[in-house]
Symmetry: D2
Subunit: 390 residues, 4 copies
Amino acid sequence: MNRLPRDAEHDYTRAMAKARRDMVAQASGADLTHVGSFSFEPEVLPGNLEGFSGVAQVPIGFAGPLLVNGEHAQGEFYVPLATTEGTLVASYNRGMRLTHAAGGILSTVIDDAMQRAPCFVFGDARAARAFGQWVDRNFEAIKAKAEETTSFGRLRNIEQYAVGKMRFLRFDFTTGDAAGQNMVTRATRHACLWMQQQGIEGLEHFALAANLDTDKKHSPLNNLHTRGKRVVAEVTLPAHLIEAVMHTTGKALYAQRQLSNMGSLLSGSVSNGAHYANGITAMFIACGQDVANVAESSAGFSYGELKDNGDYYISITIPSLIVATCGGGTGLPTQRECLEVLGAHGKDKVLKFAEIVAATVLCGELSLGSAIVADQWVSSHERLGRNRPE
Amino acid sequence: MNRLPRDAEHDYTRAMAKARRDMVAQASGADLTHVGSFSFEPEVLPGNLEGFSGVAQVPIGFAGPLLVNGEHAQGEFYVPLATTEGTLVASYNRGMRLTHAAGGILSTVIDDAMQRAPCFVFGDARAARAFGQWVDRNFEAIKAKAEETTSFGRLRNIEQYAVGKMRFLRFDFTTGDAAGQNMVTRATRHACLWMQQQGIEGLEHFALAANLDTDKKHSPLNNLHTRGKRVVAEVTLPAHLIEAVMHTTGKALYAQRQLSNMGSLLSGSVSNGAHYANGITAMFIACGQDVANVAESSAGFSYGELKDNGDYYISITIPSLIVATCGGGTGLPTQRECLEVLGAHGKDKVLKFAEIVAATVLCGELSLGSAIVADQWVSSHERLGRNRPE
Amino acid sequence: MNRLPRDAEHDYTRAMAKARRDMVAQASGADLTHVGSFSFEPEVLPGNLEGFSGVAQVPIGFAGPLLVNGEHAQGEFYVPLATTEGTLVASYNRGMRLTHAAGGILSTVIDDAMQRAPCFVFGDARAARAFGQWVDRNFEAIKAKAEETTSFGRLRNIEQYAVGKMRFLRFDFTTGDAAGQNMVTRATRHACLWMQQQGIEGLEHFALAANLDTDKKHSPLNNLHTRGKRVVAEVTLPAHLIEAVMHTTGKALYAQRQLSNMGSLLSGSVSNGAHYANGITAMFIACGQDVANVAESSAGFSYGELKDNGDYYISITIPSLIVATCGGGTGLPTQRECLEVLGAHGKDKVLKFAEIVAATVLCGELSLGSAIVADQWVSSHERLGRNRPE
Amino acid sequence: MNRLPRDAEHDYTRAMAKARRDMVAQASGADLTHVGSFSFEPEVLPGNLEGFSGVAQVPIGFAGPLLVNGEHAQGEFYVPLATTEGTLVASYNRGMRLTHAAGGILSTVIDDAMQRAPCFVFGDARAARAFGQWVDRNFEAIKAKAEETTSFGRLRNIEQYAVGKMRFLRFDFTTGDAAGQNMVTRATRHACLWMQQQGIEGLEHFALAANLDTDKKHSPLNNLHTRGKRVVAEVTLPAHLIEAVMHTTGKALYAQRQLSNMGSLLSGSVSNGAHYANGITAMFIACGQDVANVAESSAGFSYGELKDNGDYYISITIPSLIVATCGGGTGLPTQRECLEVLGAHGKDKVLKFAEIVAATVLCGELSLGSAIVADQWVSSHERLGRNRPE
């Protein structure tokens, strides 16, 4: 067994990256020329990756202009989409053309919280209940403790969930412009240690997490109570535009919405959207987000209304959009550039970024929904997505 | 409103990519130097992206060696992980060290199917029921039709789901080494058009999809009936190794498993895993997968057994792992290189790749689970994930 | 600790019932006069209850006539509803008046299966997979074995669900006019013992049930694959009738349907109906059904369509309606009388009964839905449901 | 079409009940002798039923003594179970014997709330968000308004759920000893009318309910936030008792718990219990509860721990147990008698009743769980449940 080379002192160098590529290339027989082609110095990477060896080059296309009427994002945006799936950029682009013609998209962040949910296990359910009451009474002290470890995180509230002799606390923080998962884990741990030091009667066991957060997977709990930002994007499409740009009608889109709701309810799906994940993932890769959060961020709720004059109102709600404009991968070279294209890098930008993501998702829903209804779905993939296996 | 430059004839060139970057840079004031730094010719991209303008450079580290005892993947692998999240590579690496010492991971693909689920709407429920019977009787003819459009796709069976006057058919295909979403959409549409030509009594409306597939989102239906590959990875860890490598015990891991199950059940989560999404996403970006499929692929089921001697058996099941070794982004330069590192590019490789992904996920579950139990979780992020927002 | 009196030989007598009431009355100080007032001989009860001591007298009202256009139920029915909830009978009655005027309700049983889902645990996932293939190959033999224990049960198919090293088999039986839970448990056990006698390679453990059935609780699995009868009831309501009888419009009902769908999706509910449980429970108590099956039977899917002329189409689907017209409580005195009111006692009647239940549920959905929309909901409870606590 | 006879003035009489039975008997050819045999005067029924015509006589057996260590229920209870399902009473009885020998069951009500969840629809998501903030600021005034209509109901808090341009408010009331659904509907409506009178900016539409309550069906929302009482029952069983009474071991029960958790997770079930519904339904029918609430009340969470000495700890949690000791059917003759057997009729008794129900459920889980593990499940049904269809 060959260990990958590491240099305890100077690991983030082109030389060490090459040393690892060489070893992997030799072991596997693969050529790593393109992986080894990157345009930045590895020294920017500590905190983002261990054992840096090269890069994945994911092609980027821009869709737009996307016209957003947000509280933070105002005007036209060219949206960077990093993807290898043919038709994706074209499809979102079509939705952007339609909503631009309709006067743009109203985009609104309606909630904001990041969580860690420790589990306290007691001798019996009564001790667990008493602890829950203690937590309510001591919220301010817990909050003060939690916030000692962070300059941005603010403990907003603590949800409580009870089962058996367990009490799950779901700590809800606002986290500034960071996604905040590490921040809230640290702060929650710190507060929980302090709580334990106060002497919790009947406590048998403590776990800093036990799947109720719900982190890196989806749940109705996230749908109900938000994880990250809860964002709504909405637009009313004039009948004539739906026909001119999408070759269908509001009535047809509305009928399709009914069937899609039944399909979602029947399958028990966490989402009644068509493909929120596509646009979100492409923006996340381009913009240095934690892409694994697609697990949570891809779920949501689409809602339509057919107006008497044939106009069609549609909204999408993303209850758990986990985004950042500081920290994580947002400061890396290409990632930062993409955020800057949106004017959304750095401090006080995360709500703006969230609004743009939601507006983008809405465009994708309109485009795919229309393609299904107008039976253009397969033909557009035939035309643009010819990357079939041979 | 400025449209992005397109060249109807020669759009996949460095010059056109630059033209688009220039326009976006000018509109936004952003510098796109790094985005413009790529090591391949854009002419490889048609079918993968419209309006190519540059690349996201996502840093890659290798974890390993991962010791896999699969039916297709045998031996040691260095797993390419493209991520910007500190500690991720180190954490998976630790799990790989543990399972290597334990003799490697048994990894098995136990099911394989990709779907499209059209909805047929009838005058009433009886007509819908009669249609369902007709589909059963005419399966062979439908299969023959569906397969006319594809050289790899094979229609395995058609699931039927009934609600009201609707009949949803969920066409299950095997798709060779491709993920196959486009393939099955095309084939399903072709078969459905033929079915409609036969004259379907009472048919009022048809939709090629209406959220029952379930595509780019998760559902209990996917958990039950697979989407992509259903893969299991399992290992039994000797008690002494858990202690030596993870600083905890099988008993502690098992107790944590109980709490995690309660957290999952209580939140209604589609998954009782800790963070399958992390490893899957990092491999998907590196290896040219459709990363948006993290929505489906990130859910799964962890199961543990504590042996009388303190050894700990653990398995993870990914019911909807959507992977490809042909088509999509698998042929792009860095993506292909990463697949080749695993010996998993091209034909007859997709099951091997699936086995490696599942084995990797198992390592991540062990590592994070142990960190929570041993209270090393926050400290490791302190040490490795210092990319905090300033 | 005082044990309740039992007589090993002659336990089902008025005297023994009285002996038990006397003891309970003495221990608790309660008077059991009404509980002791029953009109039948206890000797009818063996197989239905141990320790017979008296009866609950649940008041019955009839709603109707309900006009049903079923394949088995044809014409007008007076539906017995045993309940203590004010307004329930009146509300269902109103829906029956409306649908009668609309020409009656089309009611159709579209699927039929009762299950037991044993779990086979193996040494590893590969052995579990091999077993699954063995089951497929040996279906006919398994079926023959299973049917040895029953004269009515027929093994229709075996669903397979795989997770880790487990293989769940979900045996689907038709069970004639019985609900069939005991029948299928016995038959499944018999078949599984035989399977184990054949020597199942790698089998470590067997459990006759482990919550996948899903029995006496609800699940998306039941929604997808039916437990009991899957029944649809549907009707198109002329616009003028909605207004005359319900004081609202199809348009208003349709708008409410949209909101209800969102409420269901957001809460993750297993059902998007309003109160299927009310009518089902009242019929179940009256007609000697296993009322605990309300857990499964109460979930379902409502679907509406607004026609251009203002007419409103509505369907309800009950995916897991567990009913019987033979066996269980169906032969007891009042229960049998109520079934006979519907012409639905005994052999070859269960589909008829299922159709009537579904038609009844539809009436309740229309009535409550209209009451909400017309803001008559509270006022009708004020008028009819004055059983407030004092 | 023949209407059922009604007497506007004197409808609750033996004569009118007979008139209706006669008409139904004539129309259907059924004999309604037993249905017509009841021991009370119909004049007790207004508020409980319209069109009283007779009764369902549901046989009652007592199980017990059940030994409860509650905060309200203390000591031994004989539990009235109204059912027609053979083995049910015997099975619960066996669990009661076991837990009695183990020192009784700790039973605790840990939360208490009944809801109505109106939906406010706005012009856009921003208006909906502003309304949510207004509700927070004006909680005291809303509470005062809501409580004007009720002498028992107290508005505890208002949960808010946002999707698109909708804001769902989930009003949480405590309702004294009543179940309280009508009480909270009336109070919520009253408060909402007042809110609308204050002028809600941007309000387009209002619905008093739209499936988020979640009423008469189950949902993860109910699991998380309680509907009715949230009750836990728990016991630690000495190893020797498990063997003596149940013929199995704690280890075997624990292994079965693991499989049951997997079955529940895989099926997406709202519950990981075995058959909570059985005991709950039988108590609900006997004790005059709204039996349709079995839809919500039957879901829950079982949790086990195997001790080093072979003892087995088990808890069950019912998150949405909807019970009453005043109002509804609790005052009817047999129903009241059964509540009195438990010392649980009338004021200040509802928590006691909830504790007894939960303790009963725990006994049923132990009994069925043990039967499955010891393979006595089918044989006990063979012995006691011989009510097979002939």
